[in-house]
């Protein structure tokens, strides 16, 4: 019902269409293959009809589907129309793009309002909604860089980046192996494990805790990136120096979070364990560590992105001639900006997967925590 109300997105999209129609042509006279007027009206139709239809439709799903087709159809036509005419787009081109984007936004809003009963549909929506959002980042990027003719070496369009990824899989794979599977994983595991171990040690030895924690708290706020060149001096060019940076970067968040987590168990629960005359380790394993789990996972999540950044940054200061940071810093010097973005894309993908895996494990093991039970972040 709610989606049959007129929405500002669809309304604005219609206004933009009208302005675009009034200011045609879409491309400047320099365009080698100007868009036909039939094509232009097709684009406008693809935007306007779903926008109007969405006012009248009653089922959320149907109106979402129509909006989806309209928005993406129009975007596809606009982008394919600019092919060969890079840099010749005029105002209406961008207006229509904005209108299509507004439709997509409306589509996402309609989809978000749907309360599906079946769990499959729910999971599907949970994936689809952010996917549409992400797709539009790419669509706008593609259409704007090509429409406005942004120099390739400043910002290549996503299609070029994708093509580069496709053509350079072996190199990317080698870089991922060097940076992620050697430096990041090793550093992450050792850094997290030692942060955890020191936290336990500090917990066990009060003197250590009192002395180490204020220092640890300070150090965890320091610009650790600054030690990257120093680590390269100490540990050499290979992945070990990168792992060392990762270890230092991940150690303190884990230390601080674990200590906070160990203090998180309730007084009453600790008193309860005391009434059982439970010893230190029993209380630790049965009460305090489970209670600390959300904190520990928090550190694991923070560290999953920190580790990647740390390793790549460290590679700027000297490496063998393989690795993601190496590739980024050399290829930009060679003006292969598409390769740089390919590496960045791979890094973002790897980082997201890494984060996602940790988040999934968290969901499975801290199922009891209100933040997980409630299902909200």
């Amino acid at each position: 019902m709610m989606n049959s109300k007129p929405s500002w997105q669809a309304g604005l999209a219609l206004v933009l269409c009208a302005v675009a129609m009034a200011t045609v042509p879409i491309l400047t006279a320099e365009a080698t293959a100007p868009m036909s007027s039939g094509m232009t009206s097709l684009v406008v139709g693809l935007i306007a009809l779903p926008a109007v239809a969405s006012f009248a439709m009653f089922s959320g799903l149907a109106s979402a589907a129509v909006l989806f087709v309209g928005a993406h159809g129009a975007a596809w036509l606009l982008i394919s129309g600019i092919a060969g005419n890079e840099g010749t787009a005029r105002m209406p081109y961008f207006l229509l793009l904005a209108a299509a984007w507004l439709l997509a936004w409306r589509c996402v809003a309609v989809l978000s309002a749907i309360r599906p009963v079946s769990t499959q549909v729910r999971t599907l929506l949970r994936l689809l909604i952010p996917a549409i959002f992400g797709a539009w980042i790419l669509i706008i990027w593609e259409a704007v860089t090509r429409g406005a003719g942004v120099p390739f070496i400043l910002l290549p369009p996503p299609s070029a980046i994708a093509a580069r990824i496709g053509n350079s899989l072996p190199i990317l794979l080698a870089d991922v192996r060097q940076t992620i599977f050697k430096a990041v994983l090793f550093g992450y595991i050792v850094g997290c494990a030692s942060g955890f171990a020191v936290a336990i040690l500090a917990d066990r030895v009060p003197f250590l805790r009192k002395g180490l924690l204020p220092i640890g708290n300070m150090v965890s706020a320091l610009p650790i990136i600054g030690v990257a060149p120093i680590m390269v001096i100490w540990f050499g060019f290979e992945w070990q120096s990168k792992a060392a940076v990762v270890i230092i970067m991940t150690f303190f968040p884990m230390l601080v979070n674990t200590v906070a987590g160990l203090a998180a168990s309730g007084h009453m629960e600790r008193d309860l364990m005391r009434t059982y005359a439970s010893n230190y380790w029993q209380t630790l394993f049965k009460l305090r560590l489970p209670a600390a789990a959300p904190f520990i996972f928090n550190a694991l999540k923070i560290n999953s992105t920190l580790a990647l950044i740390g390793a790549i940054v460290a590679e700027f200061f000297g490496t063998p001639i393989v690795g993601m940071g190496f590739r980024i810093s050399t290829e930009i010097g060679r003006m292969n900006v598409d390769m740089v973005w390919a590496e960045i894309a791979v890094a973002a993908l790897a980082g997201s997967v890494f984060y996602g895996v940790v988040a999934l494990i968290e969901r499975a093991t801290t199922f009891w925590h209100p933040s997980v039970r409630g299902g909200r972040a």
Binding site: W105, V108, A109, L111, S112, A113, L125, R126, I129, P130, I132, F133, G134, I137, L154, L155, F207, L208, K210, G211, L212, P214, I215, N217, M218, V219, S220, A221, L222, P223, I224, I225, G226, P229, I230, I233, W234, T305, L308, I309, I312, V313, F316, F317, M324, G325, I328, I332, V337, V340, E343, I344, A347, A348, G351, S352, F354, Y355, R376, A377
Partner: protein, 292 residues
């Protein structure tokens, strides 16, 4: 008084242990090069003399604590603060872009959080991409950001501040989403029974409830901001700032300068975090917070 001692003695002890370990490590790290030097010069110093030399190299692999302390002291207190050699000057440069970026970042983070909490479509679609944005290696993008911004005429403080913004909005956004959602269901129901408007619920319930989360994430954000400012200084030609100091030091293997710059960075970081902490305490106290 007793408490003070209870806190200070352990910290001092641990610091002493660290310094001692640092000295030992410095000797260990600097020894191979010193041996090469002596071999080339045909010297065979005794152990004490040798150790002394390893701790007084002009460009040591690992500077000794007193070398760093001396350099830090000289460049902090004995230079005019406007001089390009003064660490105070460089710290100030970094601090100013840190603060600017931190302000932007906090504002942006809060804005995003408000959007996520109030607009379902944003709630469903934004979060995964915000997380993905943080997995982009900023150092790789930083030079491009600086170049692109310079192309449209934005130079100086703002590009660096934007990198700080990029790093600092994330913790604030995540923390504030948590914070704005932290009111109990029962408190929300209560506002509902009063038929309170969304803005009344926001200002009277969600905002006060999120204050502890705000300050906790601001502590993380201010540290991230500093990292961003330093990273932003690296590619811009080593003109000024702690990052520039680090970089210039690294070109000329001036390790002592680098360590002193790191110490300066640490001092700035510590001051910022403590400051945010104090402001947080004051605000919480004024909101009737229970003393710990």
């Amino acid at each position: 008084m007793d408490r003070l001692r209870d806190r200070i003695i352990p910290v001092i002890t641990i610091l002493l242990v660290i310094v001692a370990a640092w000295y030992a490590f410095a000797v260990y790290m600097n020894a191979p090069f010193q041996r090469d030097l002596d071999r080339r010069a045909g010297l065979t110093p005794g152990t004490v003399e040798f150790v002394g030399k390893t701790l007084s190299q002009p460009k040591p692999t690992m500077p000794a604590p007193h070398q760093v302390a001396q350099n830090f002291f000289e460049n902090t207190f004995l230079r005019k603060v406007t001089s390009a050699r003064s660490l105070v000057y460089h710290s100030w440069v970094t601090l100013s872009s840190t603060l600017l970026g931190f302000t932007f970042g906090t504002a942006l983070g809060i804005l995003i959080a408000v959007g996520i909490v109030h607009v379902i479509a944003l709630d469903r679609s934004l979060m995964p991409w915000i997380i993905a944005s943080q997995t982009i290696p900023i150092l790789a993008v930083a030079p491009m950001i600086i170049v692109v911004l310079a192309a449209i005429g934005i130079t100086g403080l703002i590009p660096k501040a934007l990198i700080s913004t990029y790093l600092s909005f994330f913790p604030v956004a995540v923390g504030m989403v948590k914070g704005l959602r932290s009111p109990d269901l029962m408190h929300l129901d209560l506002m509902h029974t009063y038929n309170a408007s969304a803005s009344q619920t926001f200002w009277k319930l969600r905002v006060p409830a999120s204050v502890p989360f705000l300050f906790a994430s601001m502590k993380v954000a201010v540290a991230a901001s500093l990292v961003g400012a330093i990273v932003g200084e690296l590619p811009t030609g080593a003109v000024a700032g702690i990052g520039a100091k680090l970089l210039a030091g690294s070109y000329y293997s001036q390790t002592i300068d680098m360590w002193a710059a790191l110490v300066a960075g640490s001092v700035v970081a510590a001051m910022l975090v403590v400051l945010v902490g104090i402001v947080g305490k004051v605000v919480e106290r004024s909101m009737g917070g229970r003393p710990a």
